[in-house]
C-alpha cells in the first residue's frame, strides 16, 4: 500500500505533525498551581482513583521549566497574579493553561478587592473548568480538550 510497500516490512509512514502531536498530547506535564481548595481536588485528579496517568499527565513538575501545562487551581489574588504570571513566563513553548474552578475562571464568589476577577485578565487560558470545586472528572475532561487542541497544532506551520 503506497510508499510503504517500496520499503518492505517494518516501516510506517506518517506526517511530522501527527508524530509530534501524538507524543506531545500524551505527555502533557502539568505545573500544579494549587492556590486554594481546588488544589485538593487536583490531587484527587492525580491520584489512583481518577488516575491522570491514563492520559500521560501524571508527571507533576514543580519546576515551570519542565512543564507544558499550567493548571491554575483556586483563588488568585492580585498579589499572587504576579507570581502566576512569572511562572507562566518561565515555561517553555508550546504551553497550555487550564483555569480550574470558578475562582480561577472568573473570581468566583470572591467578588472583592483582593481577588483578580479571573486569571484570563493576565494569562491566555485555553480551557475553563466550572465548578466549586470541579470534580476530578471535569478536570480530566479539560485535559482531553487540551489534547484535542494539541492535535490541531502544526509543528512546522505554527510557532
Amino acid at each position: 500500500m503506497g510508499i510503504e510497500s517500496a520499503f518492505g516490512e517494518g516501516y510506517v509512514t506518517t506526517t511530522v505533525d501527527a508524530l509530534a502531536n501524538w507524543a506531545r498530547k500524551n505527555s502533557v506535564w502539568p505545573m500544579p498551581m494549587g492556590l486554594s481548595c481546588c488544589g485538593i481536588e487536583l490531587m484527587a485528579f492525580a491520584g489512583p482513583r481518577y488516575d491522570v496517568s491514563r492520559f500521560g499527565s501524571e508527571v507533576f513538575r514543580f519546576s515551570p521549566r519542565q512543564a507544558d501545562l499550567l493548571l491554575v487551581a483556586g483563588t488568585c489574588t492580585y498579589k499572587m497574579s504576579k507570581v502566576v504570571r512569572k511562572i507562566w513566563d518561565q515555561m517553555p513553548d508550546p504551553k497550555w493553561c487550564i483555569a480550574m474552578g470558578a475562582c480561577a475562571s472568573t473570581g468566583g464568589m470572591f467578588r472583592s478587592y483582593p481577588v483578580a476577577q479571573g486569571i484570563d485578565e493576565f494569562l491566555p487560558v485555553d480551557v475553563y473548568v466550572p465548578g466549586c470545586p470541579p470534580r476530578p472528572d471535569a478536570v480530566l475532561n479539560a485535559l482531553m480538550q487540551i489534547q484535542e487542541k494539541i492535535n490541531q497544532h502544526s509543528v512546522l506551520m505554527d510557532k
Binding site: Y78, K79, S81, K82, K86, Y113, P114, F122, L123
Partner: protein
Amino acid sequence: MPSFDETLSRLQTELAGRILKTDLHRGETTLFLDKKDLVSVCQTLKSGYGFNFLADVLGTDRFTDDDRYEVVYHLRNFSESGFLRLVVRVDEADLTVDSVCGVWKTANWEEREVFDMYGIRFNNHPDLRRMYMPQDFAYHPLRKEFPLIGIEGSIPLPAKE
C-alpha cells in the same frame, strides 16, 4: 488561687481611674479606655493580673462623626481561664494609637493588619508595614467608604502580552 471573677473585680476597682466605661455582655467584660492610658493599663494587666496572652487585635469602623474608629484587644489569662476585651476609640482627626508591642510581642503583626485595613498608625511600632495588601496600595480596604470590589486599576495586573 483566686478565681477569675475576683481578679476582674479587683482590677476594676484598682484601675477605676483609667477605665472610661465597663460593659458586661454574655459573661464577657469589656473595658473602654482612653488611648493615652492604653499602654500603661496593658502593662499593669500583664504584670499584675496574669493577662499573659494577647489573642487578637482588631479594628472597627463605626462610620460616626466623632471617634470613628475603634481598636479592640482580646486578652487571655491562661492560669485562670479568663477573657477580657479592651476598646480604645480613635478619632479621624488623630489616627494614632500607642503600640502595645512592648507589652506583648504578638501585637506586631496584629497591629500591622489594623494599619493595613483601617489606616490607624501605631506609635513606636517596630515595623509598621502593610500586612496583606501591596506596599504601594493607596487605600485602606475595610473602611466603610471603600467599595467592596475595590478601585479599578489601583493594583496593577501583569500584562497579558
